[in-house]
């Protein structure tokens, strides 16, 4: 049914996005400027993201810890690139316990400094390495313009910070973790993405290089969705993180960090949702199946409970909507909240031994015999929904992927619509500045396959060193 609270996606994408966020009650604005309240429906998605990623991190040997929220100014300043990158965005605590502080304390915008300070005290020998730590926490960046989930002053994330005895091991970790984000996007969120290396200009402040996972939204604009940084010895030299290697010589550790945030919830919406509200891929949906009994004879209620029990036993997150409201109201609510599958158990249909399944993604209704093996049927149908959602998103990305040989071609493409634009690049940051003049288009990633380089730099026409994907970004 048409949802009047939601602007049509093709009419005003930005308005549509905010309408979906509010209609599905994922988050709300707060009285604190630039900060949001994550509501139950939104937080349940974050919890499911956490549980899946956390299990994967642990499987790979990582352990969770918790560093302090605040960073003394002198500690933050030890690594100069990081300070330069984050200084304009820092919130400062200057008063505590009714007194003015002697030294300002920053609310962490990211925790490289705290982890480095900690590691410098803890590591002695190569036998202590690697140390593979992660934390789930809130961070704060003083953003000027904010949008729910996509850009807010405070956001929730995880940040992994690891130290290693060798360059090879640390680089392997950097690569492994971007692959985890890629796996998470493709397999769990049904979001196809591209993975590559950030250019010098776009890399993380303080990193030797940054790997990034980039997704394409419905409107053709890119969303950076998970990054993994290789620091080499930059932080270990600034924070004096030394160890005795297996040759009994003192050496600085090799370091990585990697993170992803609540912003992925925004990505989920902008890839999959529609004019009727939220659409969630089954593997990330906190509630996968809603069962709605229709009829007053008690028959529908009884069968609904039986189906629910079977599905729960089979590991499917289903529930019966037993509230005192009309079936139509229940349908609409499940639809706007993005429950992947609805099962209608109607007493009239039961007389013909039928139940109805309604897919949220296609809104297709399928009538089946009430005698089917419900658990295996639903399992398969949820898998089909997941695969179909991924394939539709993939097709859209393909239709929004372009190639440009020069700035004129790029301009023409972007005048029509944004998208992933493949174009070769010489490596000169001034050429990136020229591209940026076209609607703020930026390099997303360098694709690591050199064979992809077939032409000259898109901006200056000189010898190309990299094959880069470009796009406007969120």
């Amino acid at each position: 049914m048409e949802n009047k609270a939601i602007t049509k996606r093709d009419v005003d994408f930005a308005k549509w996005y905010t309408n979906v966020v509010m209609a599905a009650r994922l988050c709300d604005y707060s009285s604190v400027k630039g900060c949001m309240v994550i509501e139950p429906n939104g937080y349940a998605i974050w919890e499911k993201m956490q549980s899946i990623l956390d299990a994967k991190f642990k499987e790979l040997g990582h352990q969770n810890v918790q560093m302090p929220l605040l960073i003394p100014e002198n500690l933050l300043q030890k690594e100069s690139d990081l300070v330069e990158g984050f200084a304009p965005e820092v919130a400062w605590v200057t008063e505590g316990g009714s007194k003015k502080l002697e030294e300002r304390l920053a609310i962490r915008p990211t925790s490289e400094t705290l982890f480095s300070d900690y590691y410098s005290k803890k590591v002695n020998s190569y036998k202590d390495l690697p140390m593979l730590y992660n934390q789930w926490c809130n961070v704060f960046r003083w953003e000027k313009t904010t949008r729910p989930f996509l850009r807010s002053r405070e956001f929730l994330w995880q940040e992994g910070h690891t130290i290693h005895a060798t360059k090879e091991e640390a680089e392997k970790e950097t690569k492994q973790m971007i692959d985890v984000y890629r796996w998470f996007h493709h397999e769990i969120l049904a979001i196809p993405s591209i993975t590559g290396i950030k250019t010098e200009k776009e890399k993380f402040a303080g990193a030797e290089y940054s790997l990034s996972n980039e997704a394409l939204m419905y409107d053709g604009i890119a969303l950076q969705s998970g990054t993994s940084h290789y620091f080499g010895q930059k932080f270990s030299k600034a924070y004096n993180i030394k160890f005795t290697n297996n040759q009994n010589k003192e050496e600085y550790v090799y370091q990585t960090s990697w993170g992803t945030t609540t912003r992925m919830i925004g990505g989920l919406i902008m890839v999959h949702s529609d004019d009727y509200g939220l659409v969630l891929p089954p593997r990330i949906a906190p509630k996968q199946v809603v069962i709605i009994p229709i009829g007053k004879e008690g028959l529908a209620d009884k069968l609904s409970e039986e189906i629910n029990e079977k599905l729960n036993k089979g590991g499917i997150a289903s529930y019966v909507d037993k509230t005192d409201r009309s079936p139509g109201y229940k349908f609409a609510e499940a639809e706007v909240n993005g429950i992947p599958l609805r099962i209608e158990v109607g007493e009239r249909d039961l007389k013909e031994n039928k139940i109805t399944f309604a897919r949220r993604d296609t809104r297709e209704r399928i009538v089946e015999s009430a005698d089917i093996n419900i658990t295996s049927y639903v399992e398969k149908l949820l898998d089909t929904i997941q695969d179909d959602m991924y394939n539709r998103a993939k097709q859209r990305v393909e239709s929004q992927t372009f190639t440009a040989k020069n700035l004129d071609e790029m301009k023409k493409i972007l005048a029509k619509q944004p998208g992933f634009i493949h174009a070769d690049f010489c490596g000169n940051p001034e050429c990136e500045d020229k591209v940026k003049e076209i609607n703020g288009c930026k390099s997303r990633v360098i694709l690591p396959d050199e064979k992809l380089i077939t032409g000259k730099c898109v901006a200056c026409g000189k010898e190309a060193k990299y094959h880069v994907v470009w796009d406007i970004q969120y």
Copy 2:
């Protein structure tokens, strides 16, 4: 084996406590004054606490949300009792994005204000009620003297905040949640505790009344371990949280909040640990069983893996210590880390078809046939350890529980050792001040059974209204 890094508990309890925290690598001091780094062993305990409590909260219908970290000063000031209670402890953000702010922002010391502000916008009708929200987050209080887990400027906690249509329902919720904390302490942490009502002087700033769960540490000092507050309409009037009731009349909601913190980790240590390091009750231990193979023929390794697989399948958190270190080193490490049960699989013993179990709590070693049903044996043994730990703690509390009729008796008891002191009380805060003069002794809780009142007020000798338990506190 004697642990030289740990001061004897009966020699210097405070030093012993810090030594155990450090030796078991639960947390460490950070470069940020008054803030700690929670290390992997400590954070794993917190994660297990979270997962058990969170499942219970959800079972009772609560949903998780996330409120902002910062509170604008004017919002904080709307409820005057709360401001007065927390003002001296607030950390203030006064600069952000390189500019001085027009209004100071407090780092949340607790989130009644933010929840109330949110609820005031969200609730309309009695049909929207109850709203049963909880959040897991960090809070900040500018403490002067700090101790790992027990008192730190930043700590992790959960805070539940609920609103209801009736007084009865809200009071039922307040009681229900203190009972959850009590259950958690008794059944999971093996910590006997007393539950009751805080006196007017000791209740939460802004509450109509506070219920508290109080545990007794090894040294006889009390630790407040979980509180549940009934606010009545105090916050709903201050923050204008109104709804239309089922008589179609406007009314203010009835409100509660309840919370417990990482401080419980400190409580666990101070109740159960010993001169050899950490001792954890099996139900809260992240790792319940360590299996240590001894011998180089491969036989011990193979059997250890088999045992581990069986235990894991049975839902027991076991692991094989396969590291390249001596059995003695492995024993000592498992001991200081508080792994409840050690299984020694030695090749010499296997020739006689024997394996050995070593309990961490009693340090008793039990030799058994290698043919026993290992899963059910270990399950039972872990239950026995849990029960024995609870009973020993309970006996100690009983031996540290006293009765006093007047201040002289109280002084005599406290001169010998602290403990739960039962004494009647007239209700006058000045009498509490007099008690406080004795080593800082405070009312812990009023026990709700009036029949317990048998005498006169311990301080003034006048008519008693309450039967109170008193003690020095952490």
